[in-house]
């Protein structure tokens, strides 16, 4: 037993790969069997991660969720800023510039609004809840854009871990709502052609939310929505910690 504990402690990152792999596998199983694909496996996995971080926090009284549990310190490395930035940058490789140009002006407008509207709303709600420093407000506003933009912004600006957790939770909640809600509002918002699917992808942002929601509505629309949605996170990560932060900072005067 002692030998095992020593081994697991010495190979923290490998333990993290194994644990997260098991979580992903379980989540995709739940997604397929219990929700019939309506809620995307990745959203379930992220919710599971947040739930486990809660358990870890309650058990240890620490601030790093599961990473505070003995033998799971590797989770901190796997989910840390270095590998996160590395993996997010890699996703840009799949962007097809020719296809992206086809989305054209309407896609660009949708992307712009899809970043601005949730951000403004997120900042407004955060203010109503008593946050007044520019870093927390920007991080929470960015969380309302997507669950990636929130923590990337928060890490870049040096936000409090609790604020970053809130921004992730907001983004995940939004993604789950998009996945579950899209089939019900599809008719109402005219979601039956490639053009509106591209508008939808640009406005909603979260790739997992958009692909899950469109898959449940009409599978043929998925690539069009995903096309604009893939830009969403990149644009959010570019403008939220820069232009948006500077604007919020100027407005708040701190």
């Amino acid at each position: 037993m002692e030998a095992l504990a020593k081994l697991l402690n010495a190979n923290g990152l490998l333990v993290a790969f194994a644990v997260v792999g098991l979580m992903m596998w379980t989540s995709y199983f739940i997604s397929k069997r219990l929700t019939f694909g309506r809620i995307h496996g990745s959203a379930i996995a992220i919710l599971m991660g947040l739930a486990l971080a809660f358990v870890g926090g309650v058990q240890t009284g620490g601030q790093k969720g599961m990473a505070d549990l003995p033998m799971l310190g590797g989770m901190g490395l796997m989910g840390g800023a270095m590998l996160r930035d590395f993996a997010i940058v890699a996703t840009a490789f799949e962007v097809d510039v020719v296809l992206a140009k086809r989305a054209g002006l309407i896609g660009a407008i949708a992307l712009g609004l899809g970043t601005l509207l949730p951000f403004v709303l997120g900042v407004g709600v955060a203010m109503a809840f008593g946050y007044h420093d520019a870093i927390s407000l920007t991080t929470l506003g960015a969380g309302a854009v997507t669950y990636i933009v929130g923590p990337v912004t928060g890490a870049a600006l040096g936000a409090d871990s609790a604020v970053i957790a809130l921004s992730i939770a907001t983004g995940v909640f939004k993604a789950v709502l998009v996945m579950v809600g899209t089939p019900f509002v599809a008719k109402l918002i005219g979601l039956d052609n490639p053009r509106s699917a591209m508008v939808f992808g640009g406005l909603m942002g979260t790739v997992s939310g958009v692909s899950g929601g469109l898959a449940a509505t009409d599978r043929r629309l998925v690539p069009y929505g995903a096309l604009t949605a893939t830009f969403h996170t990149g644009i959010g990560c570019l403008v939220a910690p820069s232009i948006f932060y500077l604007i919020v900072k100027a407005l708040m005067g701190n």
Partner: protein, 142 residues
């Protein structure tokens, strides 16, 4: 070689973050400004250049795509290491910001997709394509 893809990705990420730091200093902010976004732009430019100059290889592609495909698991690990206990205490914020932003965005989709000429629906596109195929087959047969 797979390592060439991993190395390209590492160089783009490091360079993007460095440029982001420099931009932060230039703007007088104690933060990295848009480093990840800049790194993405570098990577897309690098890919276009590599394809044009014929240096794009399968191994290189694999090296980058391996990390791209790990991005959700890494986000899961990130979620699992946040201070959720503190976040739960501020619970309603999540519900209000999440619900509000999707109501706003659904409305915007409804508005924007009604601007300009209505596009063909998926059913119409499939019907037209089937019709074109039939016409082509008939023309070949004739």
């Amino acid at each position: 070689m797979t390592i060439s893809g991993v190395a390209l990705l590492a160089i783009c990420t490091l360079l993007g973050n460095y440029l982001g730091d420099l931009l932060g200093i230039a703007l007088g902010v104690k933060a990295n400004v848009g480093g990840v976004g800049l790194a993405m732009i570098l990577l897309i430019s690098a890919r276009i250049w590599l394809v044009k100059s014929g240096l794009f290889s399968h191994g290189l592609k694999m090296g980058v795509e391996l990390w791209g495909s790990l991005y959700i698991p890494i986000v899961v690990a990130m979620a699992a290491t946040q201070n959720v206990v503190a976040a739960v205490k501020a619970g309603p914020l999540v519900l209000i910001a999440g619900t509000g932003s999707i109501i706003l965005c659904f409305s915007a989709v409804a508005l924007i997709s009604r601007i300009g000429p209505k596009g063909e629906t998926m059913d119409e596109i499939e019907a037209r394509e089937a019709h074109e195929r039939d016409a082509l087959a008939a023309a070949k047969g004739a």
